[in-house]
């Protein structure tokens, strides 16, 4: 018993190292026994995962083609929900807001994080302490810090503006339908910069120092080094950060709840918020159609992400 398993492990190992196994061995592979413990290790996770993730996803997609209100009987209604979703101004507004907000935030976050990464990898004092501070926002609960910021936006910022005589900000920007989204960008960026920054630091550190030394010898300015060395050599990291960030911001929920709760009016209602309203509104199937559309968008982004990651591996 012990010897057979040892043998199988060795063969498995050899195959892993050797890459593609020869055809002849492929036949014997299926007959080789798997240690049952490996199945004990794998199967419960697969079952739980299927119940907790795959089943709800499938359920949601199927129910999006019905008139279900979340419980009781339902019948299939074809694409009715989808047609309704596409002609619902509230949902279109939510998509418009979510995509617009995500685009602005992803640019703000990446610009700041990239510059911070360069600064934090240069010859500065207290490098480790500074990094520690800049990463800190990552570990703070979104809803809690949103409440803290909502106090600052509603009380401190107007107080400052009044003292300085700056009229546009004398009212809380959270109560202004045209400006409230800016507050959401600020807090989302505050929390999202750390992880983006860490990935950029890894990117900047992956560039060999000799490249900069050579460039410095050739008399390249700091700006020139940034544009001609750092940016192109971290292109893969930039792409990854843009895609991951955009994907995360599309899901924005708790920071918006903490700051504006979708208001004033519905001006800052994100897609996630509109979907969650399916709980109370009784339009369960309708919001599942909304969620399915959202899912398709996520898949498209996932494909882009996979492409991006592959491009990175080739770097």
């Amino acid at each position: 018993m012990a010897t057979t398993t040892t043998e199988s492990i060795t063969t498995a190992h050899r195959r892993r190292r050797g890459g593609a196994a020869p055809r002849l061995q492929a036949g014997s592979r299926s007959r080789r026994r798997v240690d049952p413990l490996f199945l004990v290790f794998l199967v419960p996770t697969l079952v739980l995962f299927t119940l907790a993730i795959t089943l709800p996803a499938a359920m949601g997609i199927v129910l999006s083609f019905t008139n279900s209100v979340g419980f009781g009987e339902f019948r299939f209604t074809g694409l009715t929900n989808y047609v309704a979703v596409f002609s619902d101004p509230a949902i279109l507004q939510a998509y418009l807001f979510t995509i617009g907000f995500s685009l602005v935030t992803v640019i703000v976050v990446n610009a700041i994080a990239f510059l911070l990464a360069i600064a934090l990898t240069s010859k500065i004092r207290g490098k480790i302490a500074l990094r520690g501070v800049f990463v800190l926002p990552m570990v703070i609960s979104g809803i809690v810090i949103a409440y803290v910021f909502s106090f600052l936006f509603a009380n401190s910022l107007p107080a400052f503006a009044t003292a300085l005589g700056f009229a546009p900000l004398e009212q809380s920007i959270l109560a202004n339908p045209d400006l409230a989204w800016l507050a959401i960008v600020v807090v989302t960026a505050w929390q999202a910069i750390p992880s983006t920054l860490l990935i950029y630091i890894a990117g900047v550190l992956s560039i060999p120092g000799e490249v900069y030394e050579a460039a410095a010898l050739d008399g390249a300015s700091a700006w020139r080094q940034l544009v001609s060395i750092t940016a192109p050599l971290t292109a893969g990291y930039i792409l990854i950060n843009l895609v991951i960030g955009f994907k995360n911001f599309l899901n924005s929920y708790d920071i918006i709840v903490g700051l504006t709760d979708g208001g004033p009016g519905t001006s800052t209602t994100s897609v996630a918020m509109s979907i969650f309203k399916g709980f109370s509104g009784g339009d369960y199937a309708y919001q599942m159609a909304n969620a399915t559309i959202f899912f398709v968008i996520a898949v498209v982004i996932a494909v882009i992400q996979l492409r991006a990651t592959r491009g990175k591996a080739a770097l």
């Binding site: 119940l51 907790a52 979340g70 911070l116 207290g126 570990v139 703070i140 992956s206 899901n251 979907i275």
Partner: protein
């Protein structure tokens, strides 16, 4: 940091990786410190520190000082009334207990399930079942939570899991993709000879895993565990949707009460916010290294 090498094959191939640790020493022996950049960065830290400073000072003010509109003044007089009231309003010991329970189940569950699964997958990569399982689990990384939420709420309700246990199970499931990915990559970098020699000595697969592989995974388990803790402790959406009994809510969800009922007792609400965020900050201060390494490894993979 030594973990990063096997995880970044693309960069190690060029033989020119400067690890973060190497970078640390490079800064010291470097010719001259760049003071303007240092000073600029110190000023930038204000954007991180000011909101936290306001949270702490507000928490120690009296209610009358807290409503005076100046968020940046120091507490005068220094008062812990906010904490006393917040403690009672949120029933802090119970809420803290629920949060700790959810986070503990999430951390232990994620480390065990993900390491079991990753070990099975990494050592049977030549088998379709295991290889496809890997991609199946990974696919969840691309699934946005709002898509699942409504159905998950219904299903957890039907299963009698509309409580902190249901929340913890879902937290584990959402951590799986990232964690299995990290563990699998790490397991592939462990030379098979180690396990083979243990097997020649007569150890079973289970013994090899518990005595040899699991201890070797310790640094990775730390990263996985810290991220599971942070995700679980700070989560708002899932407990707020899944847990039906308000008495069993986690700390972040309970902070909602200060938006409506007690909206003018800023010292109380900020004391409560501080108590909700402090555990995560303390964990971060102790485990910075792993947190920073984990983000990089997760993204580069």
């Amino acid at each position: 940091m030594s973990l990063q090498a096997p995880l970044r094959p693309g960069t190690t191939a060029t033989g020119s990786v400067r690890s973060v640790d190497a970078d640390r020493t490079a800064g010291r022996r470097g010719e001259r410190s760049n003071w303007p950049v240092t000073i600029l960065l110190v000023l930038c830290t204000l954007s991180v520190l000011v909101p936290l400073y306001v949270t702490v000072t507000m928490a120690f003010k009296t209610t009358s000082q807290a409503v005076d509109g100046n968020a940046f003044s120091l507490p005068a007089p220094f008062s812990v009334d906010g904490f006393v009231q917040a403690w009672q309003l949120t029933d802090f010991p119970r809420a803290f207990g629920v949060s700790v329970l959810v986070a503990a189940i999430t951390v232990v569950g994620t480390i065990l399930l993900a390491s079991f699964t990753a070990y099975a997958i990494a050592r049977n990569w030549d088998r379709r079942l295991f290889r496809w399982s890997f991609f199946y689990l990974l696919a969840a990384m691309f699934l946005p939570f709002p898509v699942l939420a409504l159905s998950q709420v219904k299903l957890t309700g039907l299963a009698g899991l509309d409580n902190p246990f249901g929340v913890a199970i879902l937290h584990v499931m959402f951590q799986l993709s990232f964690s299995v990915l990290l563990f699998t990559a790490f397991l592939r970098s462990i030379p098979a000879e180690l396990e083979e020699s243990a097997r020649i000595d007569g150890a079973s697969t289970g013994q090899v895993f518990w005595r040899l592989v699991f201890p070797l995974l310790a640094p990775m388990s730390a990263t996985v565990g810290i991220f599971a803790f942070l995700a679980s402790w700070n989560d708002f959406v899932m407990p707020s949707l899944i847990t039906s009994d308000p008495a069993l809510q986690t700390l972040p969800v309970l902070q909602q009460m200060f938006q409506t009922q007690f909206s003018n007792n800023y010292n109380v609400s900020f004391a409560s916010y501080l108590m909700a965020m402090a555990p995560a900050i303390i964990v971060y201060l102790v485990t910075q290294r792993w947190v920073m390494a984990g983000v990089t490894q997760g993204a580069i993979k």
